[in-house]
Symmetry: C2
Subunit: 377 residues, 2 copies
């Protein structure tokens, strides 16, 4: 297995793009990334997407996007693992180059959610959970997270404002980020006085819905940013079957494997992109990635350690909460953002002297976890 | 890249399985394949599926099936390329083992179509075509094939009975096949007197719909059947943009690449599983795989050369037409069938002394082609 580098990165602003189709968004990101990468040829295309079948009645995005980009004859496919589709597509693309089979590969994550009715979006997102045992009850992803949030506060005596701090800091980080959906400050007070989405989770503790596309060109040619590790792991699908629902075992397994492959420990990580679809999932992730002891994540966050100038910069462009969460594309956004930081191209969101960063992308309530570690050379 | 072998194979009968869920079907095939494979451990799971989002409202099949099989901690994902999902999943699984990253990988193709209303199934299948330019007109996949069928008959003076012969021979081959959906003979006369599906394509020239699952265990441990090549290629998405719509360029590209990788020519192939979703697509495939000159495929078939005891045995268990076409699973069925033939485990469908076989799996009207070549050791 040979080293794999990131040759080009592009992100579209996340928002309500009424004037752009799924294809338009994907092409915008892909063409920019290709332009930056300056590779001679693309050998394969991986498309990450979750909801195009229920939301746009569109499957077969591999061949469709290859055609739109004028890339004929190459292998093209869609990779899907619900909201972790982006991270998992990066895993497959990385493998394709690392193996020596392909030299340069394009990954495009794309999602378009704002065309659909809110209930259609809810239904599409619920397809990440089991329709026969979980989703049919009507419980939403946020509803499941609410169970964890309540248990966490009770068991570890965490305060609502400590958990909500993650959303406030993420919003702080999004200020000045050109691709962020919500690039403005939101105070903890405002978050905790927003309507309940699923008690005890407030609306402003959840990521919103949006349209967006992100693209990466991976190549075997030596570059400035290397993929030091890319792993995927799955856990029990049902919260009720996990030995401790407050442990995201898939995150533990995938990150442990990733640290081993990269030959590092969590202490070597300079910045983190978390899958904070809700604040509690972000907090639990921080713990299970090995940065904070179980039960201390919320306090760690509320003390400001995860600020861009803190001990461990987290969600440096705003995370799912403020940068946005176009589900199937999110994992590609995260990896692209880490790359921008390591390249010193993060603009107003720049972190000082970062050398190693990790992106964590989850599907369902962490039934799938994808971990990508990037390293500057 | 190291050699990859097929360690275990299992197929469920294709039909209307009202009593089995998507999960039940996948597990039935997977557990049988695992039992046969006798590998110590499974390192990754690839699920091939096309329509579970529109038909069962279910995404995230990687983690879902891993959970159902008790496989925790491994990477699991769904690969989708419309009706070519099966072949493309085999491509990814093969790469995962060939690269050295994983030693033993499970591929499960699964589709459940008969629960849904016929119109829902039509809509799901139409998602393989472009919703903005093609599918919205209401044209079906068979409707698009009808254009090719008519042009083929006109340009090459092929007779309806010559094209229909492929369906008749496929049905002949399915007799005695335990997993075939339609294991009985159907005469050319009966085919040509069946109702028109899309003029000039008769209903009995099209594959039906059905439920089924197929599973393969791929491993680096030396076995009796090797994956000599696995390739994927895409073509112009729209028939109107192809320089000649009667040339399936994706099939040409992918098969040429596969022959090169395997170090063989079409003359070395002993048996073929074609993607005969309609008779005309089967005929064109036979030509573009390099077995017959363009325009002579229908005659070649009608002369009986593709019979199990003929020059080039084709669809030895009945093909999509008679074995069945549970779309996302079909490519996995094909590869499993070639493996069974090479292992001498094809029962009443056995071909004599076959050493090399090729499976061709298509998405849309051949906008994606996947080619898998297996070789006996």
């Amino acid at each position: 297995m040979r080293p794999v580098y990131i040759a080009g990165v592009a992100l579209t602003p996340i928002g309500e793009h009424w004037e752009l189709s799924l294809r338009d968004l994907a092409c915008e990101a892909a063409l920019k990334a290709l332009e930056k990468a300056e590779v001679e040829r693309i050998d394969a295309l991986y498309v990450a997407n979750m909801g195009a079948a229920p939301l746009q009645s569109q499957l077969h995005l591999g061949a469709l996007m290859a055609d739109a980009l004028g890339l004929y004859g190459l292998p093209a496919m869609r990779v899907e693992a619900a909201q972790a589709s982006g991270g998992v597509a990066v895993h497959e693309a990385n493998l394709a180059v690392a193996s020596g089979l392909y030299d340069s590969v394009l990954v495009v994550g794309v999602e378009k959610m704002s065309d659909a009715l809110p209930l259609e979006v809810r239904s599409a997102l619920a397809m990440a959970e089991d329709q026969e045992y979980t989703a049919y009850t009507g419980v939403t992803d946020v509803g499941l997270c609410a169970l964890l949030h309540r248990l966490y506060m009770e068991r570890y005596e965490a305060k609502p404002e400590e958990v909500a701090a993650l959303a406030a800091i993420s919003h702080e980080h999004a200020v000045g980020c050109p691709h962020a959906q919500y690039p403005f400050r939101v105070s903890v007070e405002k978050i905790l006085s927003s309507p309940m989405e699923a008690d005890p989770i407030h609306m402003l503790e959840c990521s919103g819905i949006g349209d967006g596309a992100a693209a990466l060109v991976l190549t075997a040619d030596r570059g400035d940013v290397e993929i030091a590790a890319s792993t995927v792991a799955v856990d029990h699908f049902f919260l009720t079957e996990r030995s401790d629902p407050l442990i995201l075992e898939a995150v533990r397994t995938a990150s442990k494997r990733a640290y081993e492959r990269a030959g590092i420990s969590p202490r070597d990580i300079d910045l983190v992109e978390l899958h904070d679809s809700t604040t509690i999932i972000g907090i639990l992730s921080l713990e299970d990635l090995g940065f904070v002891e179980k039960g201390f994540g919320a306090r760690y966050v509320s003390e400001g350690n995860v600020r861009r100038d803190g001990e461990l910069p987290v969600n440096t462009f705003g995370g799912l909460k403020a940068r946005g969460n176009p589900v199937g594309a999110t994992g590609v956004y995260q990896v692209a953002e880490i790359a921008l930081q390591l390249l010193g191209e993060a603009g107003r969101c720049q972190v000082e002297d970062a050398e190693v960063g990790v992106a964590e992308n989850l599907g369902g309530v962490a039934s799938t976890a994808s971990i990508t570690i990037l390293r500057r050379h």
